[in-house]
């Protein structure tokens, strides 16, 4: 009974919980920067720690120590709490992802819907963050974030629903279990996988779609006014969202921690690294699209493809 709670506490705070994810986030950012650097014939972070692996941690600590300015004309209350809110909304869905065993820390019927809701909430918070800091660049950045949300929200949710329909349940753990019994839902639903990856790139505001914080046009979009601790929290939230995106792809389409060899985090991490490689590859291969390209592209191509995928599942009755 006592060991039960302690074991649960350890799971939440230590292993598949916060601490593990914290270092996984920094490791992912480091890996992303190294992969893109490798593509571009350069080294990437080198000096902090072996092969520069502690560079994201160093950046985080540096930002924490920097001066935290709250401009006078800024809408104080939302400006202060949005970074912290963004971080919590980025971390909480991660507890529903099965990393060790077949079932995650929190798994109930419908946690997929909760994750979808939280992800659209982060987009809303990005909009409010930009709007609250009443700087001209950040206002335009927040409008663009809002527009981008309209574009990728529907195809992303449709693509996430695909595996849930075929597995007949709305809980990610059950979807993962279903995939182990049958096969990875990547094979029957390649379209869903592609649409989800593209939409997650838009959700993470990565290069082809980093329109809300396009630094060559509007300085750095909605993040312009944040500095010091707030900026550190926002960047950490972005890293956690990257982890969330990649682990979503892994658990929904690549069969979670199960693999042909044995159940353990190793298989999860292997598939996870594959997803990180795919996303970094996309980042290095494209120029930044304009907001109207993204809107037109999403409504003309992504949404119909996602709908087609749903119909295919129904027709083939998988």
């Amino acid at each position: 009974m006592v060991s039960e709670e302690i074991w649960a506490l350890i799971q939440i705070f230590l292993f598949p919980g916060f601490l593990f994810l914290f270092f996984l986030a920094f490791f992912t950012e480091w890996l992303d920067r190294k992969i893109v650097a490798k593509f571009q014939n350069r080294y990437g972070p080198l000096y902090v720690g072996p092969k520069g692996i502690l560079q994201p941690l160093a950046d985080f600590i540096k930002l924490l120590s920097k001066e935290d300015i709250t401009p006078s004309t800024v809408d104080k209350v939302p400006f202060k709490i949005i970074p912290a809110l963004l971080l919590t909304l980025a971390v909480t869905p991660l507890f529903c992802i099965p990393i060790v065993g077949s079932s995650a820390l929190i798994s109930f019927e419908g946690d997929l819907i909760v994750i979808m809701f939280i992800m659209s909430l982060t987009a809303l918070l990005v909009f409010m963050g930009g709007w609250a800091s009443t700087n001209r660049f950040s206002t335009i950045g927040s409008i663009r974030a809002g527009l981008q949300m309209f574009a990728y929200e529907i195809p992303m949710n449709l693509a996430m629903i695909g595996p849930a329909i075929s597995a007949g349940s709305l809980s990610i753990s059950k979807i993962v279990e279903w995939q182990t019994r049958r096969f990875w839902s990547l094979f029957p639903q390649p379209l869903g996988f592609a649409v989800l990856t593209i939409c997650l790139m838009a959700h993470l505001q990565r290069v082809p779609f980093d329109i809300p914080e396009a630094e060559s046009e509007i300085v750095s979009g909605w993040i312009v006014e944040f500095s010091g601790k707030k900026l550190a929290l926002i960047r950490l939230a972005k890293d956690f969202e990257f982890v969330l995106a990649a682990s979503l792809i892994v658990s929904l389409f690549l069969g979670g921690p199960y693999g042909s060899w044995y159940i353990s985090p190793i298989t999860f991490l292997a598939k996870y690294l594959l997803c990180v490689f795919i996303i970094s590859n996309l980042r290095a291969a494209f120029a930044r699209y304009r907001i109207d390209h993204l809107l037109a592209g999403a409504w003309k191509y992504l949404t119909p493809l996602a709908l087609l995928q749903i119909c295919l599942i129904k027709i083939w009755g998988i």
Partner: protein, 116 residues
Amino acid sequence: MEGDLLRNVKEKPVTLQFPYERKEPVERVRAKVSWEIDKCIGCRLCVRVCPGDAIELIGRGREAEIRYNVGRCIFCGECVDVCPTGTIYTTKEFELVFNNRREMIIHFRRKKTRRD
């Protein structure tokens, strides 16, 4: 674009890790200027020709003393071409960092002869 990306993964990075790996200067590089003061006859030609007014000549004739301000020098090599006795030559040292302005002025004095 995709094919080239993957091909580049194999190649070695092009960038140098500067403080540890350095690019050795080219054979014709013209960096810091310096004098063999013994051959100098104090003709003041280099002072007049220097676009950046970086050279000062103190004293007259044989025992002249050159005060060369690296900060003002634009490393064009005009003084090297104009010097009649070939006392001025350019070195290959181009990493010139100084802590304060006084260090930037380099003096070229003749070694004290036995008389004084």
